[in-house]
Point group: C2
């Protein structure tokens, strides 16, 4: 059993976009747009999965997984995503960092299942 918060990914290699961000106070339309971006990203070619969490202090980390650099670039250039990013800069974040990485190996463990080395 893999809880739904976890992405179910193929064997590496694949790519990760690691987005860490400090939210400003208040929603300002963030929640609705964030949910839409998750929905839209999942429809893009090469999207593999996403994991995301945010603490009570407003600091959050989202990692989106993609098949290729090409898929990441296409998502970056998607018009609705680009517009959402502009709104993010305008009102939702005080600081963010984005890192693009090539995942080379992966390992998972589950209390209720046999542990599995997947790479």
């Amino acid at each position: 059993m893999s809880p739904s918060a976890f992405a179910r990914l193929p064997r590496p290699p694949y790519y990760a976009v690691i987005f860490s961000a400090q939210r400003t106070d208040g929603d300002h339309g963030y929640g609705e747009t964030a949910a839409r971006m998750v929905e839209l990203a999942a429809q893009q070619p090469g999207f593999l999965g996403m994991e995301s969490t945010r603490g009570e202090d407003g600091f959050g980390i989202t990692v989106a997984y993609w098949e290729s650099e090409e898929a990441i670039r296409a998502w970056r250039d998607h018009a609705e995503h680009a517009a959402a990013r502009e709104r993010g800069r305008a009102g939702w974040y005080s600081h963010f960092e984005l890192r693009v990485a090539r995942v080379e190996r992966a390992y998972g463990w589950d209390r209720d299942a046999a542990s599995g080395d997947r790479a």
Copy 2:
């Protein structure tokens, strides 16, 4: 101004260990050991920085950044870290995923500063 939750990293390339985990209920010594592991990791050769957050549902993401695969392996093999991992499997987590990735480009933005493309 970069809030302290953010790692201050050199230009890529460097490596990321992306650890996502679902905590079990209760502390069971987790908080003390987690703080010790952060302190200990920061003392290791090749450690660059760390970002971490956990939501109220107990799902957390920690990303540790390292200079090299060799540094990651040395930390994996550190005796006190290995003992802490065993305790994690025994009581702190119901599920986790660990992914090792090579960061190829990075970009940061701050509301109070000029935005900077760092790769």
